[in-house]
Point group: C2
Chain length 343, copies 2
DNA sequence: CTGAAAGCGCTTACAG
DNA sequence: CTGAAAGCGCTTACAG
């Protein structure tokens, strides 16, 4: 049938071969494999030697069948597909999670739930016990999958603070509000007083929290709340350019602009250039993310770094803890202001 | 032990429950599950109804244990980690493969082999039969994993033409040479005669093939081969900027530049701007990829589109064919010239 | 077309 | 500490 699959490959050694080779029972081999409790040093030694000689590798399917655990974890993305093109953080996150799991010898299943049909298919698959836990990435609120998975009894850890229904979902996030505060405070320190903002979508944690941080700092500085200085963006380059143009139309005197992502900040820079504003001379611009877009930007973008490498490793740590029955909940990680030319 | 894992979840129905419910034997249920050969319509009907009533979902571990197939596929990346940051095509490819496999209900395991230790770990895992096939992405030549996996009897499909030892490895690739030919021909059509190029690394197919296309077209046009017009880049923004500066130093009169990737073309544009050259007036610039970088670039980048969505679907199609024992080999897909302002 | 039975490779109480 | 045995949930010849 499948020449490459079966005929070619020779039979792999089983636990039985190892037991015979080591002169012990299969039970003893299994005990060595699973931590070596209740095994004499001599027996353990003999088994390990036999494993080396035979090249034995455990058959995970057999193990899973009896333990009821799959030994794998899902990285579930419930995003409109464009994010994969646009958001470089996603790649960093995915890589970080893959490698953190690899250190525990746990494979990562990548699942992308765009359409409703895909969501149902994945829910079925995951609920059937094919993975032991889920790393969930979905910026939008009201994502029905989070609740579904939790109700199915699956350990779930989200990336980012869940907006909307406060399910007490475990999550790992950067301190969005604190990061926004750092940036706006910096803009005020450079002497700006008419600080506008282009927010993220207000059904995303980044949208809500960064706007909140912006408002807090302005209020603390005794500056009036002015809704003319606030525009909502959609995390896209062009959307932010349009939002910036609207801000300039309403408030031609604005002297600083806090944009809730680097990609959007690039759009804002383009709009400012078209409007003849010099950056940072006329308008100081601050972004968020410290993505490659921030470095490549001209002028270089002053921005807020999110600790993506730590976010991924913490997500894995929390998920493994939950899979072991512990009840860790939220982890919030600090951000860092990165100064370049734009502000 | 694990409250979220076991206690909470109730026992899932097995094939035995379905058989009892349908009033048939477990063998018959299994036959219905596996295509319904040798099953009477009445029995199939009863089984399907019972599956619906019980909410039965097959236990893949049990199935795998007996069939010897895992029902999953690996997406294996053997890249220096930066590519995940820099190359947006990778995300598109990964998403495309995930979804093409999902249509066949085949989960994708993401594996990233950076270090040698990781390569060995993954080789062991994969060779142990934990996946049925491998989608391999590694632009560098001489990747030892490809050969190792093939020798282990695993169906493998590479993304991009394998450079170096011609193992007759199955692969899917864009027509790099043809794409380069389209671009250089276009530059000549606009009246340019001193066409320089920044290549990709010459141990990558994109580096080798796009350079070959460039040379072919110049030769066909009767232009002299001039090695002063050729610089090797490293697929990075800054590397390409430096390469462009070297070209300008050697050949200040160059009037066109073919850059082997959009990201590098951005670097080239920056270098040209620093040197006071206007694009396209003084120097026409062409990129490769049609990535988001091409759209965001100012001026908009004329480039060559690679059909990434088709590449991913073809990779999956060829891999599934190989897993079924068929012997498909290479698929080369056509590229398309995308005209914007830079050339 | 269908049932009874063997067996995939492992883990885990249960005795000793 | 260790072995013998049961059993996880399926698939697949083998008879009928």
């Amino acid at each position: 049938m499948s020449p490459t699959n079966n005929a070619t490959r020779r039979r792999r050694p089983t636990i039985h071969d190892v037991a015979r080779e080591a002169g012990v029972s299969r039970g003893t081999v299994s005990r060595v494999l699973n931590g070596g409790r209740h095994v004499s040093p001599a027996a353990a030694e003999a088994v390990n030697a036999a494993i080396r000689r035979t090249g034995y590798v455990v058959n995970r399917h057999a193990r899973s069948l009896i333990t009821g655990r799959s030994g794998s974890v899902a990285f579930l993305l419930t995003e409109p597909q464009e994010r994969f093109f646009e958001d470089p953080n996603l790649g960093v996150l995915l890589r970080g999670c893959t490698q953190a799991l690899a250190a525990h010898d746990i494979p990562l299943l990548l699942m992308i739930a765009g359409s409703g049909a895909e969501q149902r298919r994945i829910t079925r698959y995951v609920s059937a016990g094919h993975v032991d836990g889920v790393l969930l990435v979905s910026s939008r609120t009201g994502d029905p999958m989070a609740e579904t998975l939790v109700r199915a009894g699956l350990p779930v850890v989200m990336c980012g603070r869940p907006v909307g229904r406060a399910t007490g979902l475990a999550h790992v996030a950067a301190d969005d509000r604190g990061g926004a505060r750092q940036m706006v405070r910096h803009l005020l320190h450079t002497g700006r007083r008419r600080v506008a903002t282009v927010t993220g979508p207000l059904d995303t944690p980044g949208g809500v929290e960064r706007l909140a941080g912006y408002r807090e700092v302005l209020a603390e500085a005794g500056l009036p709340a002015d809704e003319d200085l606030v525009e909502t963006g959609d995390y896209s380059h062009d959307g932010a350019a349009a939002a910036t143009a609207r801000l300039l139309a309403r408030r031609p005197d604005l002297d600083a602009l806090f944009v809730a992502s680097d990609l959007m900040a690039r759009g804002a820079l383009a709009a400012l250039e078209r409007a003849g504003r010099r950056v940072p001379h006329d308008v100081a611009v601050g972004g968020f993310d410290d993505s490659t877009a921030a470095v490549a930007s001209r002028p270089g973008l002053t921005t807020v770094r999110q600790p993506w490498d730590r976010i991924s490793s913490e997500m894995v740590r929390v998920l493994l803890a939950r899979m072991a029955g512990e009840d860790t909940s939220a982890v919030i990680l600090p951000t860092e202001l990165v100064r370049r030319e734009s502000a």
